[in-house]
Amino acid sequence: MVDVAVIGAGQTKYGNHALGLKGMWAESAENAFASIDGDFDPSMVDEAFIGSIAFGGGQIGNTAALLTEHTGMDNIPVRRVENACASSGFAFRDAWMAIKSGQADIVVAGGIEKMNDLSPERKRFWLGVSGDTEWERLAGLTFPGTYALMARRHFHEYGSVHDDLVNISVKNHLHGLDNEYAHLRKDVSFDKAQNGFMVADPLTLYDCCPTSDGASTVILAADHVAKKLSEDPIWVLGSGAGSDHLALHDRPSITQLIASQRAARNAYDQAGISASDIDLAEVHDCFTIAELMATEDLGFAARGEGGLFAREGRGRRNEGQVTINPSGGLKSKGHPLGATGTGQVVEVFKQLRGEVESSRQVRDATTALTHNVGGSGATCAVHVFGRDLK
């Protein structure tokens, strides 16, 4: 079967963006196209998958057609992919499958979200759209509340403490400090993160990612094309995905994400590796507790030891076996919902090619992972990447 590689990847800066949807997509696509080593033209793209929640309702229908027509991908099959915050993680998986199936040779996967052109009131109406609206929202829950319930239960079951989450927040802000694409480039002290404004007890402002504008674009290619267009393709070694009950109360446990575990297992199996082979991981830290749980679900820490993992600083850049969120993660880099999944791939692509700022470079990295979660864990896509085909 054909192998698939990422041959180009780019994004906008995340944050409060002056550009609208079309402008952000154009900038992101242009950056991605420019990153391709060989002679590439957008008309060579066979198919496109673009993840977005269409936050705010600005362009819910036919988003993908509107965006691709502005970036030279005329008349090709396109569609919007929606799986909450995992939208572009799944767009990437769909693109990978399109090539794997033999139906396409060059496919674009991307994501986009415009979140900060809404009033605060309207924004909060949209921030809860990916939970079980009828049962969770009527109980006053949006995602800060949902993840707060998970955090408190994790503390209770495993003895993790809020300071473990503070360590994650401080680490990710440090990692994102030199990332020119990051939304919140600030050095946050332990004391400051420890004493943040309480958003959803026990989660403070420093446990929560920001709401960001942004777009990200990735170009995937079949092996025979990749070798012609790229001097240094990054190979997709494994693609896994999973789902779970949407409502927290329907799950047997709220201190682990079954969808993440399943997605990771599938991706590792395909790649023929285990968690210990991963040099760097972009994980979905929409809240710090989400990163803590992800380190367990992805196999970097034993069940219940995510707090200890964070306490010992084992995810810090170039300090442990694996660097967790070298980009700064959602916490610092930002979280433009639909763009996050392929934005993680952009970071991995550049890290494995040695193209990020030297201060951020993970040394000798050959194998990487992305982990993109939808909502409170109802959907998840995990991908494993390598400099070399195994």
Binding site: G56, G57, E121, R122, R124, F125, W126, L127, G128, V129, T133, E134, W135, E136, R137, L138, A139, G140, L141, T142, P144, G145, A148, L149, M150, R152, R153, H156, F197, M198, V199, A200, D201, P202, L203, L248, H249, D250, I254
Partner: protein
């Protein structure tokens, strides 16, 4: 019902008398009983009926325009024109009597509440009634179709497993209707959301309340659920604490007040 039995019931003050029951809000201003932050005649009526039902079987009820009939029906009560029992709403007080004849009253002292906070909350509810959704939305149809589960814990059964909220499975996973669950459980987790962290539906009232509390509860029969804590609950939640439930207002939108069960911490 041979002699007066007066109790604190679901955050209210209730007295069963030979002719029926009187239930009042525990909140007062200058001695006059006023509704709590998420209460009204409908919530008082359901609370009173649930207490009365512990003593006798209620066959039918005549209600009035101050009560949301959907809520009474969702809670399993039969509403007819000439019911066995009649719900009387007081003219100038947060008080209801449920009798087989005339309106009754009962003198009881409540807890004085802050007038300014009360007025702010009343204004917030009035403003909220005109609010419309600008995104996530529980439609009136969805609210109505889930009312019996939301307000009375109507449940399902699949083999020995009790299911709540109801599911719409297929094949051999299709559950059958089952009696309502008992209204108690144990807190497995909880949070308190700041006004800024709460959904927009609560944005007018959450700042007045200082945020809203939510508990993740394992019900005694097994299912789990998330519930708001009653707005006037004064006890703090903790994992392992027992909760009971009472019907309260949740929020208003499109001119419709949404009701549901909220947790009281035992």
């Amino acid at each position: 019902m041979s002699s007066n039995q007066c109790v604190n019931w679901q955050g209210n003050l209730a007295c069963i008398q030979p002719g029926g029951l009187v239930i009042k809000s525990r909140h007062t201003i200058d001695g006059r009983h006023v509704f709590g932050p998420d209460s009204d005649f409908t919530t008082l009526a359901v609370s009173g009926l649930s207490l009365l039902s512990e003593e006798i079987q209620i066959t039918s009820i005549t209600s009035n325009e101050n009560i949301d009939l959907l809520v009474l029906q969702a809670c399993g009560y039969s509403i007819i024109e000439d019911g066995e029992w009649t719900i009387h709403c007081a003219n100038d007080s947060a008080c209801i009597s449920i009798t087989k004849g005339d309106e009754m009253d009962w003198e009881v002292t409540g807890n004085e509440t802050d007038r300014e906070t009360y007025n702010l909350m009343e204004s917030a509810w009035q403003e909220e009634m005109t609010a419309v959704s600008q995104g996530a939305f529980v439609s009136e149809q969805a609210y109505r179709s889930g009312a019996a589960s939301r307000m009375n814990f109507s449940s399902q059964r699949l083999g020995d497993i009790r299911i709540w909220p109801p599911r719409e499975m297929i094949g051999d996973q299709r559950p059958v209707d089952a009696p309502p669950l008992g209204q108690s459980g144990i807190i497995e987790s909880w949070t308190k959301l700041s006004a800024g962290g709460a959904p927009s539906e609560f944005s007018l009232r959450a700042p007045i309340l200082g945020g809203i509390g939510t508990v993740f509860v394992k019900l005694n029969e097994g299912p789990r659920g998330v519930f708001l804590i009653a707005d006037d609950e004064t006890s703090s939640p903790a994992i392992g604490k027992e909760v009971s439930f009472t019907l309260r207002r949740i929020y208003a939108q499109d001119g419709l007040i949404r009701y549901g069960l909220k947790a009281l911490i035992c």
